[in-house]
């Protein structure tokens, strides 16, 4: 273990890295070992995509403390740019995703640079405005988005849909690594300083403008790529679905219910969200909104770290001591009450991705 550790960047804990690799390999091999029916296969693929998007939302919402209700804007931009590229150029699909993501990132910067100076609720409200304005303009701009008829892509072959599983897995793995990097490196400290006290951070040399912009652009790129991936996966996209307020809300719910500000939390949130969406909602469709509402209220009142916090409690019951990094999560406000030393945060268990 020691020797392995020397290979790693200093912010990575060897145990976490090992766990990460194991989970990744297991998920990689899963469809090769077990025969997954296309439905399960597809749900897993979508789960990976949502984990990536939720993590990216969390960079802004959890690391910097700027809660965005407008991330659908980037999801949609990424999706439609990708779709247009796939329809009108010979670009390979992954290149189209990346270009879609980049355009989404630039779009994020465009509205984010001015609005990120706002703090707390003001920023949240501004993002609602951005999201809705983007949706309306996108719906109206039918030469680009196909208007409310949307855009259809050619139906992918079965093989391609199979392959999307691994692409989604690589994408998610990259985003997990990036999350870890953003959280544990020099940048992570700066972001937490900004989240804690934006003025005091400036007074010790942290440029809030710069780092918030960077985070939003990165977040926009990842969410944009998710949108492009979504377009490839479903081969039909339409503005009110892609840019809808519900889409932004789903990212907020994943982040908050899972546990805002923690990697495990956002990943867990996405997994639980997909499980709920697929199973619970299909069985108890009349109750799902209320269930989300209840979860949200319960999380805010009793467990600011959401499901990941709940896991920590469980872990503590069996004697595990969570690390100091946990204190960095939460929505904002009260200082951490516990201090247990500098042990690193637990690695997100991707194993949970299996419904």
């Amino acid at each position: 273990m020691r020797r392995l550790a020397s290979w790693l960047p200093e912010w990575a804990s060897p145990w976490a890295a090992a766990g990460f690799v194991v989970v990744l390999v297991a998920l990689y091999a899963l469809p090769l070992v077990v025969v997954l029916d296309p439905y399960t296969h597809g749900i897993l693929t979508q789960t990976f995509m949502f984990v990536a998007a939720a993590l990216a939302w969390n960079w802004l919402g959890g690391y910097v403390g700027q809660i965005s209700f407008g991330h659908a804007a980037m999801f949609g931009v990424g999706g439609f740019v990708t779709a247009r590229l796939l329809l009108s150029t010979d670009l390979p699909f992954f290149a189209a995703w990346v270009v879609g993501g980049l355009v989404a990132g630039v779009y994020g910067l465009l509205w984010g640079h001015p609005t990120l100076r706002l703090r707390g609720p003001y920023f949240a409200i501004a993002t609602i405005g951005v999201g809705e304005a983007t949706r309306l303009v996108a719906t109206f701009w039918s030469s680009f988005t196909g208007g409310s008829s949307g855009i259809s892509l050619p139906i992918p072959s079965g093989d391609f849909k199979q392959a999307l599983y691994w692409y989604a897995l690589y994408f998610m793995a990259a985003v997990v690594l990036l999350s870890y990097y953003l959280r544990k490196s020099r940048i992570g400290l700066g972001l937490l300083a900004i989240k804690g006290d934006v003025d005091a951070a400036g007074d010790v040399g942290v440029s809030a403008t710069f780092y918030q912009d960077v985070v939003l652009v990165l977040s926009g790129i990842v969410v944009g790529i998710s949108g492009g991936f979504y377009a490839s996966f479903f081969s039909f996209i339409e503005p009110s679905d892609m840019f809808g307020f519900e889409r932004s809300i789903s990212l907020v719910l994943m982040g908050v219910i899972g546990g805002i500000g923690t990697i495990l939390g956002a990943a867990l949130g996405a997994v639980v969200y997909v499980i709920l969406q697929e199973n619970l909602i299909a069985s108890y469709p009349d109750l799902y909104l209320g269930l989300y509402g209840l979860l949200l209220v319960a999380v805010i009142l009793f467990e600011p770290l959401g499901l990941s916090g709940l896991l920590m409690r469980g872990a503590r019951l069996v004697g595990y001591r969570p690390g100091a990094g946990v204190a960095a999560g939460g929505i904002g406000g009260a200082a951490a009450t516990e201090a247990t030393g500098g042990a690193p945060e637990e690695e997100p268990t991707l194993e949970e991705a299996r419904p």
Binding site: A124, I128, L287, G333
Partner: protein, 291 residues
């Protein structure tokens, strides 16, 4: 020219409604520094309560104002005492209370859905489709009534905040809760009261909306967003500012149809919201003090 007159009249009437919608939100934010996303639920709930009272008991919507406002006042107080009270207020707690009340909104939507199904409903009275002429323009009787009630409500609120002991206490708490504690104002009680009044105004807005528009359990979202725009335009908490903000929004929305495709006029408010937030975070007419 005639079109300008028509648009002016309809903007003016619309502004009254916008002001009532926004005031509840602005009051709660101004005093507690809490963004009440459940305001959307109050609006939706107010509309349904009006509908039930009218449909089941045959009470005219305008006569049920005290019932609706009373019910939502109580609801707001309960919400405050039961949930909001436990959260930190102000900049530190902004995110938490915002998300908590968002959860409450989802719960309210679900409750309405279970009770009334997702169907669109409308309150129809004998005068629902009657028009009258105002400045040479045909307008709905209902809209004029809504406007007049909105003016009365805002006037009453202004009087309450500036002339009564409780109102003054609310304003004092809005300015400085800590020193209020020192001079013996029961800050917690003022907070609960404010939350109640803000919710009652949300219920009133729902009532007024229900007489003009159709609604369903998801209603209130658009109204919430417009309320934000008004509050942001008008600055937090001043009756005059809110009224001006409502006017600006209503006029911007209505008149933009002269230059924009009508579909895009819905985006005008949102764009305005973002621009004003960025350029004038204090509001166009900027004071933050109540009164």
């Amino acid at each position: 020219m005639e079109e300008v007159t028509r648009l002016t009249v309809s903007s003016l009437l619309l502004a009254g409604l916008y002001a009532v919608m926004a005031y509840g939100l602005g009051l709660i934010y101004g005093v507690l520094r809490v963004v009440n996303l459940a305001h959307a639920g109050m609006i939706m709930g107010g509309a349904y309560l009006t509908w039930v009272l009218h449909g089941r008991l045959g009470i005219d919507p305008y006569l049920s104002i005290p019932v609706v406002m009373g019910a939502f006042f109580v609801f707001g107080v309960v919400l405050y005492k039961g949930l909001v009270r436990f959260l930190p207020r102000g900049a530190a707690g902004g995110g938490q209370s915002l998300l908590l009340l968002f959860g409450v909104w989802l719960l309210m939507r679900n409750a309405a859905y279970l009770l009334f199904s997702g169907n669109d409903q409308a309150v129809r009275t004998g005068y629902s489709t009657q028009g009258l002429r105002l400045l040479g323009v045909s307008v709905s009787v209902n809209r004029v009534a809504v406007f007049v009630i909105a003016l009365i409500a805002l006037g009453a609120l202004h009087f309450f905040l500036t002339r009564t002991y409780l109102g003054k206490a609310i304003r004092a708490v809005a300015q400085n809760p800590d020193s209020c504690l020192l001079v013996g104002i029961d800050v917690e009680r003022v907070y609960a009261l404010t939350f109640g009044i803000g919710s009652a105004l949300g219920g009133l807005a729902g009532l007024l909306l229900s007489t003009i528009f159709a609604f369903n359990p998801s209603s209130g979202a658009v109204e919430l967003l417009k309320s934000f725009v008004v509050v942001v335009l008008g600055g937090l908490g001043s009756v005059v500012g809110i009224a001006l903000g409502a006017l600006v929004l209503a006029f911007a929305e209505s008149f933009s149809i002269l230059v924009l495709p009508s579909f895009l006029t819905a985006a005008v408010g949102f764009v305005l919201l973002v621009i004003v937030l960025v350029l004038r975070p204090g509001g166009l007419f900027g004071q933050r003090v109540l009164g």
